[in-house]
Subunit: 200 residues, 2 copies
C-alpha cells in the first residue's frame, strides 16, 4: 500500500487464510478498517486465544480447550463405540448430521508412506492403546472413500484382526436426494451390491 506499513502488514497477514489472495486480502483489510473495527479486534483476540489455547484431546485427538474434548468429557458418549475419522472437519460433519452418539478418534490425516506418514504419525498406535485399555464393542472406520482413506481403514482392521471387535465401514450408495444420472459408476455398483428389500 506504500502509505501505511500497518495496513500493508494486515493485508500480508490475511493471506495466511486459505483461498485468500492479494485482492481479497485488500478488500478484507479495507472493510475492517472502514466499517468493522470492533469485529477486527474481536477476531484478533479470538485468533490469539485459539492459536495458543487449542490443543488435541488426550483421548481422541480432537480439538480441545482442556485435557479432554467436550465429547470425551460426556459420559453418555463413552459407550464402547469409536468412530475413526481423518480430521476434525469430518467429525464436525458427523456431529452436524446429529444421529451418532458414540465417541471418536481423530487421525491426523491418513497413512501416506511416500510422505513418511506412518501409523505412529497419525496416532494409530494411540488408538490401539486406547482400545486395549478401554475395550470397544464397535469400531466404525469413517476414513474418506479415497485410496489413502481405504488403505488406512484396512491397516487398522488388520491390526485388530482376531480380537473379536466388530469393525464397520460407512455404507456407500446413492446420496439422498441425488439423481441417478449424475452418480458415478463405482458408487452405482456399490449401491447395487448393497441393495436392500423394500419391506424388511
Amino acid at each position: 500500500m506504500a502509505f501505511s506499513p500497518l495496513v500493508d502488514e494486515l493485508v500480508e497477514s490475511l493471506r495466511c487464510l486459505p483461498g485468500v489472495g492479494q485482492k481479497t486480502a485488500q478488500r478484507m483489510a479495507f472493510h475492517l478498517l472502514e466499517r468493522g473495527r470492533s469485529g477486527g479486534s474481536r477476531l484478533s483476540d479470538a485468533l490469539s486465544n485459539a492459536m495458543t489455547g487449542v490443543r488435541r484431546c488426550e483421548r481422541c485427538q480432537n480439538f480441545a480447550d482442556t485435557e479432554l474434548c467436550g465429547i470425551c468429557e460426556n459420559p453418555q458418549r463413552t459407550n464402547g463405540t469409536i468412530c475413526v475419522v481423518e480430521s476434525p472437519s469430518d467429525l464436525l460433519a458427523i456431529e452436524q448430521a446429529g444421529d451418532y452418539r458414540g465417541g471418536y478418534f481423530v487421525l491426523m490425516g491418513h497413512l501416506s508412506p511416500i510422505d513418511g506418514v506412518g501409523p505412529e504419525e497419525i496416532g494409530i498406535e494411540r488408538l490401539l492403546d486406547r482400545i486395549r485399555q478401554e475395550g470397544v464393542s464397535e469400531l466404525i472406520l469413517a476414513t474418506n472413500p479415497t485410496v489413502e482413506g481405504e488403505a488406512t481403514a484396512h491397516y487398522i482392521a488388520d491390526r485388530l484382526d482376531g480380537q473379536g471387535i466388530l469393525i464397520t465401514r460407512l455404507a456407500h450408495g446413492i446420496p439422498v436426494g441425488g439423481e441417478l444420472g449424475y452418480v458415478d459408476g463405482f458408487t452405482l455398483t456399490h449401491a447395487f451390491r448393497g441393495r436392500k428389500p423394500l419391506i424388511e
Copy 2:
C-alpha cells in the same frame, strides 16, 4: 463446534470478514489450527495493531499510521494537483496504475441525502478548506461513474465555480484491450463523443 468454545469463538469471529460464511469460517479456523498457527498469531497481532493504530491522514483522509499518510509526507506529491476519490481502494487502484504523481483527497463515500450523508460527513468542507489554504492548480474528480459519484463530483465543482481552478473528470471510453461488442451503449456514446484524431 460444541466441543471447544475457543474454536467456536474463532469461527464466529472470522465471519466478520466480507464474503465469509459459516462453512468458509470453519475451513479457515481448521486450516489455521492444523497447519497455520504461526500465521494465525501473526494475523492476530497485525489485526490488533491496525485496528488501534490506523487513522485517517489529517490532510487527505487516506489511511495513515501517523498524522500524515505516506503520500502527503512526500514533498514531490504536494504539487498543487489533488485527485478526489471515494475510498482508499480507489486510491490504491490509481497508485497501482503508477502514472499519477500528485496528491489525493479521500472522501468517506459519496453524497447520499437519503441516508443522511451530506458534504460534512464525507469531508467536502475539509477539502474546500484545504484548497483555500494551500491553493490548487488542478482538481481531478475521480469519483465513481455512478449516479451518486457523478452527483458528488458536480456538487464539488459547483462549490468551486468561478474560482479559476481547473476541474477535470476522468475520461470515459472503451477499456484498453476491451472488445467493442462487449462495451455498453453509454460507454460507446462517451467514446464516440471523446474521439481523437489518430495523428495529432
